[in-house]
């Protein structure tokens, strides 16, 4: 039953992804590998769409993944809508439950030494997980690991065009912090078309 599995997987992500939308990314890579519902290159496209549309990134990604997974499973975009809804509800349900429980004693919760301690450990770990997902993204986008290691054409191991574009955009993002990510994604799309990537 794909809906139940989808709900459960996103409930798990909602419960364990700490620190905003990007924190869901490593969990989605894990999901892609363990279920095969979508490919990692589809996931990169989903991140792009989620960053350039309104709404919280994590919610957008859950909707996108749920929609894509169920659409492909049943071969119908119409049933896919239900997949988007189920994944998103699954993602937010742990938040709703946890917040309703702690809303009554907000300050005690904030000052509790176990809560403080747990997040002292989780926060750097969460960034570590995102960093690992970023490395995977680099591998998938920039490197062409050959199937066999005989007759390697070393020039083809690195995708030079995306590498140059990524470096240029990265420097641009660092330099112009005020410019919205959508603008950079737009530049990326145009460059992709112009240089036939």
């Amino acid at each position: 039953m794909i809906f139940l599995k989808l709900f459960f997987e996103f409930f798990k992500i909602g419960l364990f992804a700490v620190g905003g939308g990007m924190a869901t990314m490593p969990f989605l890579y894990d999901l892609s590998e363990s279920t095969g519902w979508f490919t990692t290159s589809q996931l990169a496209d989903m991140i792009a769409i989620s960053e350039s549309t309104p709404g919280p990134i994590g919610v957008n990604m859950a909707t996108y993944v749920g929609f894509t997974t169920v659409s492909e499973h049943y071969g119908s975009s119409f049933i896919g809508i239900l997949g988007g809804v189920v994944a998103t509800i699954g993602l937010v349900m742990p938040s709703v439950i946890i917040i309703v429980i702690i809303a009554g004693f907000l300050n005690k919760f904030k000052e509790n030494r176990f809560v403080k301690g747990a997040f002292y450990g989780i926060r750097p770990a969460s960034v570590g997980l995102i960093c690992a997902a970023a490395l995977l993204l680099i591998k998938n986008t920039i490197l062409n690991i050959p199937e066999t290691f005989s007759n390697i054409d070393w020039l083809s191991v690195i995708n030079i065009k995306p590498l140059i574009l990524a470096v240029v955009l990265f420097l641009g993002i660092l330099k112009f912090k005020k410019i919205h990510p959508v603008a950079f994604l737009g530049i990326g799309a145009v460059a992709g078309i112009v240089f036939s990537m």
Partner: protein, 180 residues
């Protein structure tokens, strides 16, 4: 009944016009919830944000749940959260359906190859921003590097890392208090 409708509409509006989530949504929350609707004070909003960042889940959703709960209890919390996610559902489903129809065109594939390079740049830059905020002492550096390496080279679920580092954090915190 009217208050539920207002909760839904207000959060749907915020979800529909803010890009990026998290911190990027804070000014919009302030204008709509503190100034326009007077549902919460600015201090409460700051508190919700602080707690929303250190509870699991999406920060914007956590804040919506807090405000909905304060205004109208559990049902209010649910309605506000549904309002928050409603625009995403509509927009993403429409776009995803559209894109899957054009995915085979060469020009779309070239555009997405360029976009993927940009996503890479954006993700790396957000790792740097997040690390500056979350990796603040020696233990943090060790946890960050260890998790990044282990997660890259071993096939372990992220859930395991979160549980282990939470336990580790509690142990370190308790030990620190004892030695005081």
């Amino acid at each position: 009944m009217k208050i539920f409708w207002q909760l839904f509409i207000t959060f749907a509006k915020i979800g529909a016009v803010t890009f990026g989530g998290g911190i990027a949504m804070l000014p919009m929350f302030k204008r709509e919830l503190v100034e326009n609707k007077d549902w919460i004070t600015e201090n409460e909003l700051t508190d919700y944000y602080a707690v929303g960042q250190c509870t699991p889940g999406i920060i914007a959703v956590n804040t919506a749940t807090f405000v909905g709960y304060k205004v109208k209890g559990i049902l209010g919390a649910i309605v506000a959260t549904l309002g928050m996610i409603f625009p995403s559902l509509v927009i993403i489903v429409a776009l995803a359906a559209l894109i899957s129809n054009f995915a085979d065109l060469a020009i779309v594939q070239h555009a997405f190859a360029g976009i993927r390079a940009c996503v890479l740049a954006l993700v790396v830059s957000s790792v740097i921003t997040l690390a500056k905020k979350a990796v603040i002492d020696k233990i943090g550096v060790v946890i960050f590097i260890a998790v990044a390496l282990l997660s890259t080279f071993l096939d372990i679920s992220p859930v395991i890392f979160v549980i282990i580092t939470a336990a580790l954090g509690i142990a370190i915190n308790v030990k620190k208090e004892k030695s005081k």
